[in-house]
């Protein structure tokens, strides 16, 4: 079946417009439809929605100007254009009649082999499918995105009984490789998997918080990062989602899942309904469970229904329980008599109880439940994983014991499969437990999975991990050098946030030697969320303290030399970027032959925050690129024009909010490759490395390039003088800016002088140490090391 090339989104609501944004972010052509307006511009609704995209936070668009790439359409004038779309995503209001009426209207215009999917979160797909022609029914299913779709990794696919199971892989492949999302299959049951289980976890927490008399700020402290869940935890998440929306999702379970044994818990919650009727819908109205007043955050006192100061924290003994090993955590909580510990045990127990009793009806297997909570709600472990890790039968016995003691929310025994004394696990390398089919449901191997060397695996599923895969060539505490195919060498850093200290740099140096000697290319990749947070600040300070400016300059020179080797190496070097590539990490990546970047990559040289500058060749590299651009434009005296924006970014420590933005800066170059799915990054990096090696690779010969000179520096100083005068930068920022301009413009040389990289690297060394040694810079470093925060003194 043909690939999906062009998409239509029906309904320019919050989700529809953001989906369109996500598609144009990835250069997928999209038409965004809505009803025509009677008054004003016909496409006013869609235009308004597109305009709104530019103001949303977090930003749905990777670059604001991409809003203009969304093709604007309305149902009166543009339905024939649907025939050019391979995929039509319906995302209109949640009313069966509206959706059916729209389907009837668009039917004659759909492409003969195109897919129609609904982004419904609550309606039955079988019912929606029933009214469609038989042929289309095979290409109809639910495709449920999570808000905000650019950032949420999960998509639920909900096939109906008539959806063609073979061709659905086309959709899966599109969602995975092109949209960068992870697909789970869900059943056509109320709230599908993710919202069903997510909202159950919320409701259980609400009930137990009430039973234990815990305030919402305390509950949020207990159920956030301490449990490996997002900072917004329970109540703050509710505020962010919107209490009206939360209430709607809760009521869907209540009204449409009459067989749910926990149904009574989903009855309208007086506190929640009270807030909604008072217009306190959460973050969007400024008040919900929390209210922000100036800089202080107040919490709701459920007794008086007024807002009182917040900030309650978990008790130290309870925290200690959460810090023991994950497998001992529940035992510790259960054994404690502290009400906070008892509360935490209770919400785990009740969620396990809920999952076990509902698994047969709500998910194809235990796998989808855990994946949903990990990807849709940001939990580090799903409930079945936690249960399995804590000892299946032991926990099952505890639940039964509590039930008999009347402590559980529902007085129903666990199902037989969960009580089976032989049972140790629900997730195995062969598959995960399906309660409906009373057997293990094998994990599928769709074709796109070949592109993921290390796909997301649940605990117990096994499979190879990046830490041990392939053949180890060399390893140290700071890095592992390995290969999957004996052709391409991979360097994986092991330091915290992949920080580049002396040992890591030695490993990089060794990797280059090894790759040049025995391999065809070198790839810098790590399974961690971030490429590298930068150089080793603490190490710099220690070197300076112990060996003074001379020692620091020597260490800096070593760093510079390794970084230069990345570009001059006889074999191609490829940086696989994701998350933070900051400071020294950014400098390293800019020197590789090619960059392969996950679209959510934050590139930036942020050294000025800690009172220093990119001194491992970063400043030299932006100067070199500017010089070559000026030369290409036959303006060797105007280098500063090409340098100015980069120096401003470095001075302001601007970090790109996407790989696309970094490309618009020119930091990612035209030959660099963007990858929408994080798990496919290594595959693409290896493919690119091989492609370079296959091309008869030789590193580009070094060329001379012009510098901005003293004239260019004056041009920068004019901007700095006004920024200082306007109170926008501090006196020390001005001083750092002056040094940035001096180094990048080539010191005291006249504009247009041709220089080489070594000359500018020397200037970096001349100015780096003395700047670091100033009192203001030392204060910045100290503050950063102590608090993790930047001061712009």
């Amino acid at each position: 079946m043909a690939q999906i090339q062009r998409v239509a989104v029906l309904g320019a609501g919050v989700m529809g417009a953001q989906l369109a944004a996500h598609l144009v972010n990835l250069d997928i052509p999209v038409l965004l439809y809505d009803l025509p307006l009677d008054k004003g511009p016909t496409n006013g609704r869609v235009l308004q929605a597109i305009h709104g995209l530019k103001k949303m936070s977090p930003p749905p668009l990777v670059e604001l100007e991409r809003a203009g790439l969304i093709e604007v359409a309305n149902y009166d004038d543009h339905l024939p254009r649907l025939s050019t779309c391979d995929l039509v995503i319906e995302a209109i209001g949640e009313q069966l009649a509206w959706k059916q009426a729209l389907y009837a209207r668009i039917l004659p215009h759909l492409a003969p082999q195109g897919w129609l999917v609904s982004n419904t979160s609550g309606l039955s797909l079988e019912e929606l499918s029933a009214a469609l022609p038989e042929d289309l029914q095979t290409r109809f299913c639910g495709m449920h995105f999570f808000n905000p779709p650019r950032y949420m990794a999960l998509v639920e696919l909900i096939p109906t009984t008539r959806t063609d199971r073979d061709s659905i892989t086309v959709l899966e492949s599109f969602i995975t490789t092109r949209l960068g999302k992870t697909v789970i299959h869900a059943l056509d049951t109320p709230n599908f998997v993710a919202n069903r289980i997510g909202v159950a976890a919320t409701v259980i927490t609400f009930h137990q918080a009430q039973n234990f008399g815990l305030s919402c700020d305390l509950v949020d402290d207990l159920t956030g990062p301490l449990l490996g869940r997002p900072r917004s935890a329970t109540y703050r998440t509710a505020d962010v989602v919107g209490l009206d929306i939360l209430s709607h999702v809760i009521s869907t379970t209540y009204t449409q899942a009459p067989d749910d044994p926990f149904r009574a818990l989903f009855a309208p919650f007086p506190l929640l309904e009270g807030l909604i009727s008072a217009g306190a819908l959460g973050a969007k109205t400024g008040a919900g469970f929390y209210r922000k007043e100036g800089k202080t955050i107040l919490r709701l006192d459920p007794m008086t229904r007024s807002y009182v100061p917040s900030g309650a924290k978990a008790e130290a003994g309870v925290k200690a329980c959460l810090e023991v090993s994950l497998s001992q955590r529940l035992a510790c909580l259960r054994a404690s008599t502290h009400p906070q510990a008892q509360f935490l045990w209770a919400i785990h127990r009740d969620l396990f109880h809920y999952c076990a009793l509902n698994l047969a009806y709500m998910a194809p297997s235990a796998r989808e439940v855990d994946m949903a909570l990990r990807l849709g709600f940001g939990w580090s472990l799903g409930p079945f994983e936690q249960w399995q890790l804590s000892g299946w039968s032991e926990v099952a016995a505890w639940i039964e014991e509590d039930r008999r003691a009347g402590k559980t929310l529902v007085d129903l025994p666990l199902p037989d499969w969960a009580m089976d004394p032989q049972r140790q696990v629900v997730h195995t390398p062969q598959g995960s437990w399906s309660a409906a089919r009373a057997t293990l449901s094998p994990r599928l191997s769709p074709p796109w999975l070949k592109r993921q060397h290390f796909p997301l695996r649940l605990l117990g599923e096994g499979g190879s991990t990046a830490a041990s895969a392939g053949r180890t060539v060399a390893e140290s505490e700071a890095a592992r050098l390995w290969t999957l195919d004996e052709d391409i060498l991979i360097l994986t850093l092991r330091t915290k946030m992949n920080i580049l200290g002396e040992v890591a740099l030695e490993a990089l140096d060794q990797a280059l030697t090894e790759a040049e000697g025995h391999y065809r290319a070198l790839v810098l990749w790590s399974p961690d969320p971030h490429f590298s947070a930068g150089g080793d600040l603490k190490g710099f300070i220690e070197t300076y303290t112990r060996h003074g400016l001379t020692g620091l300059a020597l260490a800096q020179e070593r760093f510079q030399r390794v970084v230069q080797r990345l570009r001059c190496s006889a074999v191609p070097t490829v940086a696989a970027l994701q998350g933070y590539a900051l400071g020294g990490g950014c400098e390293v990546s800019l020197h590789c032959t090619r960059r392969v970047a996950y679209t959510e990559t934050n590139l930036g040289m942020v050294e000025v925050n800690v009172g220093i500058f990119p001194g491992a060749g970063g400043l030299t590299e932006v100067a070199r690129r500017a010089g070559l651009r000026a030369l290409a434009a036959q303006s060797p005296l105007q280098v500063a024009d090409y340098l100015q924006e980069d120096l401003t970014r470095i001075l302001r420590c601007t970090v790109s909010q996407s790989a696309q933005e970094a490309r618009s800066w020119g930091w990612l170059e035209s030959g660099d490759v963007l990858v929408p799915h994080r798990e496919e990054l290594l595959h693409v990096a290896l493919t690119q490395a091989l492609a370079l090696a296959e091309s008869g690779y030789a590193p580009a010969l070094p060329r001379l390039f012009p510098v901005g000179g003293v004239e260019g520096r004056a041009q920068m100083l004019a901007g700095l003088v006004n920024a200082l005068q306007g109170g926008q930068i501090s006196a020390h920022d001005f001083e750092i800016g002056r040094i940035l301009a001096t180094v990048a413009c080539g010191g005291e040389l006249p504009a247009g002088t041709l220089v080489n990289v070594d000359y500018l690297l020397g200037l970096e060394r001349t100015h780096f140490g003395p700047l670091l040694a100033t009192q203001k810079s030392r204060e910045r470093i100290q503050s950063f090391l102590e608090t993790g925060k930047a001061v712009r003194n």
């Binding site: 105007q638 003293v710 004056a714 100083l717 003088v721 006004n722 005068q725």
Partner: protein
């Protein structure tokens, strides 16, 4: 010394930055003004014109290559007439008038054209490649030469203790006066409409449609502003400052042209003098308080001609910034009723090199309409100068 008369004065409407004239080149604006001025004196044989002096603050790109000469020839002036472009930043247009008038006063010319032009939409303030001398940054004394204009206005507000509310009040008054003047049709006599044939592309059909458009009115004055709205604007030049986009002059496009004649030329060509040029004064001031320039330039000019402040019927003080107007007022205390009676650059716009000639055009038509006698045009100038010109209606 001979007498120099102004016998024609006109200007284009002023467009907002990237507004109505976004696609109109500076030379097109200047050609319009030159033709408009010649049209005011149909009895004049253009062959008799000696020279054309045009002010322009950023004479580069489309405004470069001696725009005065190319525009003069394109406007239909004979090849025998000379043309030069002069630059004194915001005072360029008034300096052009001064140079033309003094040529006549010296007896070295009988008929001159003076004016100014600027398209800030197309050539940004400071030009496309600002390249200040490295020497500026070597001593603190010279550094203010690199200061942005907004910073100097903040400095004035600070030194003269001028509040945000005072500045916003000046801005609002400027808009209200300009709107009233438009309503009354006071600008009609001085404006030469700009007409341009533009081609519009329909991307759906790939077809282009030619369309002739004409602009008659200044684009800057806003009826939708108020003290409340002005108060909401963020400081534009200092994070804790009081100078905003709302109480500063606008980024604008426009041009003006005036014809000056000697007594002999007036008689020979049968011209009607509109005003007599009395004299000019230029003074330098510290760059960091450049807006105070008029305070230094005006008093010596008035005393040289024996004219008191009270004798001035009309004062055109270029509103670079409300803070600057207020600082000047705290020193010179012009009669507020006679100061910028039709609004100023905050409402009407400030196309840098054209403003001196535009303000003079408004002054001359204003004096004639109100039967005033003495009029003063004064402007502050970036990097620290003040200029003033004195005129008498005849």
């Amino acid at each position: 010394m001979k007498t120099a008369y102004i016998v024609a004065a006109t200007r284009t409407p002023v467009g907002k930055g990237r507004g109505q004239f976004a696609q109109v080149r500076a030379d097109t604006l200047l050609i319009t003004a030159l033709r408009g001025a010649l049209a005011q004196v149909p009895m004049l044989d253009p062959e008799a014109i000696e020279d054309v002096v045009i002010g322009c603050a950023m004479p580069e790109g489309e405004q470069g290559l001696n725009i005065a000469r190319s525009a003069a020839v394109l406007a239909g002036l004979p090849l025998s007439a000379g043309a030069m472009t002069v630059n004194r930043f915001c005072a360029s247009g008034l300096s052009a008038i001064q140079m033309a008038a003094e040529r006549i006063q010296l007896g070295s010319a009988d008929l001159m054209i003076a004016g100014g032009v600027e398209s800030m939409s197309r050539i940004p303030m400071m030009g496309r490649h600002p390249a200040p001398s490295p020497l500026i940054f070597e001593t603190p004394f010279h550094t203010p030469l690199a200061w942005g204009m907004g910073a100097t206005a903040e400095n004035l507000a600070h030194q003269w203790n001028i509040s945000r509310l005072e500045q916003d009040t000046v801005a609002l008054e400027s808009h209200q006066r300009a709107l009233e003047a438009q309503h009354q049709g006071f600008f009609e006599a001085e404006i030469t409409p700009v007409t341009l044939l533009q081609h519009f592309l329909d991307l759906n059909t790939g077809l282009t449609t030619p369309q002739e458009r004409t602009w008659h009115q200044d684009e800057g004055p806003r009826a939708d502003t108020s003290l409340e709205i002005l108060a909401r604007l963020k400081p534009a030049f200092h994070v804790k400052g009081s100078v905003t986009a709302g109480n500063s002059s606008q980024i604008s496009d426009g041009a003006a042209a005036l014809i000056l004649a000697s007594e002999e030329a007036v008689h020979h060509h049968g011209l009607t003098p509109l005003a007599r040029v009395l004299g000019f004064s230029v003074k330098g001031v510290p760059p960091e308080i450049m807006g105070i320039g008029p305070v230094k330039a005006v008093p010596p000019l008035l005393s040289r001609h024996g004219i008191s402040l009270a004798q001035l019927d009309w004062i055109e003080l270029n509103e670079a910034f409300a803070a600057q107007v207020l600082a000047v007022q705290k020193n010179l205390a012009f009669d507020p009723v006679r100061l910028n009676p039709l609004g100023g650059a905050i409402a009407l716009g400030h196309p840098l090199g054209a403003s001196g000639a535009i303000r003079t055009t408004t002054l001359i038509h204003g004096l004639r309409r109100t039967n005033g006698r003495y009029g003063l045009v004064t402007l502050c100038v970036g990097m620290g100068q003040g200029i003033a010109g004195l005129f008498e209606r005849v």
